[in-house]
């Protein structure tokens, strides 16, 4: 048994945020029926691809986002496709969709359509800017999402342009926030019998989210102060990123505990030096510069793993900057069971990150690899009572 194995999610999302949210449901047991248009989810055309060869069944991104789901191809531009969708919707506990609001109207599958089928059915819409408002139909990408709604403005160097996070991290954050919203809708339905149309704006998941935008906004309201774009890393010594023998180590805010830093460096005497122990003198740039000069010398004699080991011994906050190779070859992550192995008809054996979290009872399982496009069209539509002619018509000839 898995916690959510009595939940069926009808998943009409594509790209990153929606599929990431529904993957979490699938991981904890939900039967997630992924509806793909003929040709498939756009991430089937996004890399990284196995051996660098663009192919709809060889995208590592699609694979990661869609494990544990079943894929059904429906052409929702046709009546047959919509009939099949209606049959699936009647069996679902919740619908999640990420169409642009205008596209949904054109297809005629807005909330009212689902409500007419089954009034108690919650529908969660994930869109760029929400279901209404002047930017309703605006385009949004990971870059512009973080630029507009996230805290990109204050990221980077003062005399250069603001700079984004890695990859599509902002969209993954929105996906995690969406999963909580979907779960909220499921609880409202189950506990109170309330079906409703939940409106999730990717922009608002960042405007309202953690990682500082929530705090920079109220800090301005409180004080009139704005957050500068500076490469700051908290006060004190050490504070920030330092080079070491084979890379870099991050000591952001480590200086909050001078006692531990002194222990890490075997310099208990520093605690008696007012330049290092007095809260105000510790902020003097000249004192910090002199201290940093010595500290860099200490770091540069050590590898990032050696620096981290010393920091861990003394309970100093520190993070060595790992490459993907460092991460994959790290024994501790491996030994904890972070990685999992699976196989796929087109990609063969592959290693992916496993459980996002550990529930001791009825928790995470990798039950199946990401589906081939339309792999489950026939079985799902036949279960829903469609005959083979209707199935072929509904899938636009794909099945």
């Amino acid at each position: 048994m898995q916690a959510l194995d009595n939940v069926r999610v009808l998943d009409l999302t594509q790209h990153i945020a929606g599929p990431y949210a529904t993957r979490l449901f699938a991981d904890f047991g939900a039967d997630v029926i992924k509806v793909e248009k003929p040709g498939g989810d756009v991430t089937r055309r996004m890399g990284p691809f196995k051996a660098g060869q663009a192919h709809p069944e060889k995208s590592g991104l699609y694979f990661y986002l869609n494990c544990n789901k079943r894929s059904v191809v429906l052409d929702l531009r046709t009546e047959e496709g919509k009939l099949a969708l209606a049959a699936l919707a009647k069996t679902a506990d919740i619908v999640v969709e990420s169409y642009a609001p205008a596209t949904k109207e054109r297809l005629g599958i807005g909330y009212e359509w689902f409500k007419a089928l089954k009034p108690s059915l919650p529908v969660v819409s994930i869109s760029n800017f929400g279901q209404d408002g002047p930017y309703r139909d605006f385009k949004l990408t990971d870059l512009t999402l973080y630029a507009f709604a996230g805290e990109m403005y204050s990221m980077g160097e003062t005399d250069r342009e603001p700079v984004k996070m890695a990859g599509t991290a902002a969209l993954f954050e929105s996906g995690a926030a969406s999963a909580v919203g979907i779960m909220g809708a499921l609880f409202a339905s189950k506990r109170h019998g309330i079906g409703q149309h939940v409106d999730i704006s990717l922009a608002e998941t960042h405007f309202g989210g953690v990682d500082r935008r929530h705090a920079t906004a109220i800090a301005f309201q409180f004080s009139g102060r704005k957050t500068l774009r500076v490469a700051s890393h908290g006060g004190g010594m050490p504070g920030g990123i330092y080079p070491c023998a084979d890379g870099y180590v991050d000591f952001t805010n480590a200086g909050l505990r001078p006692d531990r830093v002194a222990a890490m460096l075997n310099h208990a005497d520093w605690l008696n030096d007012p330049r290092y122990s007095d809260p105000m003198q510790r902020m003097d740039p000249a004192v910090i510069e002199e201290w940093n000069g010595n500290f860099i010398g200490w770091c540069i004699e050590r590898t990032k793993r050696e620096v981290w080991q010393e920091a861990r011994r003394a309970k100093v906050m520190c993070g060595p900057m790992f490459t993907m190779e460092d991460l994959f070859t790290d024994e501790s992550f491996r030994n904890r069971g972070f990685w999992t192995r699976t196989s796929h008809p087109e990609m063969g054996e592959l290693t992916i990150p496993g459980r996002p979290l550990i529930m001791e009872k009825n928790g995470w399982e990798l039950r199946r690899a990401a589906p081939l496009l339309g792999q489950h069209t026939k079985e799902l539509l036949a279960e829903s009572g469609l005959d083979s002619t209707a199935i072929t018509a509904a899938s636009g000839g794909a099945a």
């Binding site: 051996a51 980077g156 890695a166 990859g167 608002e204 301005f220």
Partner: protein
């Protein structure tokens, strides 16, 4: 008051900094009753601020989101209105108790007995030091759901490593995957995206465990190793190494799939970065059709119709040249005006919005995004809204950012039903207070 999805669920918040408090905030927004026990004798840095009573000079020297207190004054109760604290502690209750003493721990035990969830994200060993283990919680309440968020998990050589989000993201590869492609990573401003991810997934995990408990009657232990949890955000880099052995690096603002151009460009600014008055626009071109529409939207300058740039491969190859052309154009444009023109042409473009400008944005106003909260210690201000809109079970900010010990009467008398004599004894012992003890700096 309308019904809420998590009405009737009680959560004890033993959280610090951001990742834990974000999770319990989401649960509170969905209607759970979130109660935070706080110790009048121990100040947890980075939750209610850097210090209980910071010197006035320190708040001025701190970055705005840490030191931007109301009217730039420390005031009488700085712990109640630290910007990072108030933005995470709506819809929660606070009561005080010294958990280091047996009678204080017993109060927690009695609260656990009438609660559903205990959530903590302290450094590994902190809870054990207080005597709070899963076994202890289960003895108090066999159905309790206990969520722990250690940085690297509860076992292995990194179990006791001290970390904020930024440190564990360095380990997961984020620090080398972001930033300027022509600079070393030492200019990377600290970010805390892993706190966001782990916080949201923590709330998700609590609800998954409640769903499970509804079916089986059983509570359980949940461990979220925050580093492991953050991995999803770097899926493309992880899968590229897994599938192909490629080690990806920083790419400034370029697109991970090579769609070009993708960048951040200067616009007309009322001032400079020194006062946070510089303005920029982010532009992402997805397709050749969008590139063509972009050129027309900005008046078809010769470079925009250069045949070398007509297809994405050519634009990617010449991205530096294209970026220079775009920047020269955008430098004469207003960021919002350009956003509207480009969006009308079907191109993703948005200003890089400095936080104070959110409050002037017409879309956020049209969607009634902001919410005014009035906290007695600081007054009325506009706060950012919730992450989702539920028309049938609306997210309401029923409790403004909670003041230290604000719910002592409620928790002790209404929830725990302590006698007057016990209440007075706990008060005399310093457990029940509405401010930090004078000994706390």
């Amino acid at each position: 008051m309308t019904q809420k999805p998590l009405e009737g669920v009680r959560v004890i918040d033993l959280c610090v900094v951001w990742a834990g408090p974000f999770a319990t905030m989401l649960l509170g927004d969905l209607g759970a009753e979130v109660i935070k026990p706080e110790n009048p004798f121990v100040f947890q840095p980075m939750t209610r601020g850097a210090m209980a009573r910071p010197p006035q000079m320190l708040i001025g020297a701190s970055i705005a989101w840490a030191g931007g207190l109301p009217h730039n004054e420390v005031g009488d109760r700085p712990w109640d209105y630290n910007p990072t604290f108030v933005s995470l502690y709506r819809n929660k209750k606070s009561f005080t108790v010294d958990l280091r003493r047996p009678e204080g721990l017993d109060i927690l035990r009695r609260l656990v007995a009438v609660s559903d969830v205990v959530y903590e994200n302290n450094a590994t060993g902190t809870m054990e030091g207080l005597g709070i283990t899963y076994e202890w919680l289960k003895a108090a309440n066999p159905k309790i759901i206990f969520v722990r968020v250690p940085a690297y998990g509860s076992n292995g050589p990194y179990a006791h490593a001290r970390a904020l989000g930024v440190h564990l993201e360095a380990v997961m590869g984020h620090s080398l995957l972001r930033g300027y492609d022509d600079a070393d990573p030492s200019s990377n401003t600290a970010i805390y995206s892993g706190d966001y991810l782990a916080g949201a997934q923590g709330a998700f995990a609590v609800m998954t465990a409640l769903w499970n408990r509804d079916r089986t009657g059983e509570g359980q232990l949940i461990e979220i190793a925050q580093a492991e949890n953050a991995a999803a955000m770097f899926t493309q880099a992880i899968m590229d190494y897994s599938l192909n052995g490629n080690v990806q690096g920083a790419m400034t603002n370029r697109d991970i799939d090579g769609r070009s151009p993708s960048g951040v460009y200067p616009t007309v600014s009322p001032g400079t970065a020194a006062t946070s008055d510089d303005r920029w626009i982010a532009i992402s071109i997805d397709t050749d059709e969008q590139w063509s529409a972009f050129g027309q939207a900005i008046g078809s300058p010769p470079w925009a119709t250069d045949p070398r740039f007509a297809a994405n491969a050519g634009r990617l190859e010449h991205h530096a040249e294209i970026d220079a052309h775009i920047a020269a154009y955008t430098a004469t444009q207003d960021d919002y005006d350009l956003m509207h023109r480009l969006q009308a042409a079907g191109v993703a473009a948005t200003p890089v919005l400095e936080a104070s400008r959110m409050f002037d944005d017409p879309h956020l106003r049209a969607r009634d995004f902001f919410k005014t909260q009035t906290q007695p210690a600081s007054g009325a201000y506009e706060y950012v809204g919730p992450l989702w809109k539920f028309p049938g079970t609306p997210v309401e900010y029923l409790q403004p950012p909670v003041m230290f010990g604000e719910h002592n009467d409620y928790v002790y008398r209404d929830v725990l039903e302590v006698s007057d004599a016990e209440f007075e004894a706990l008060k005399a012992g310093g457990h029940i207070a509405t401010e930090y003890d004078a000994s706390v700096p």
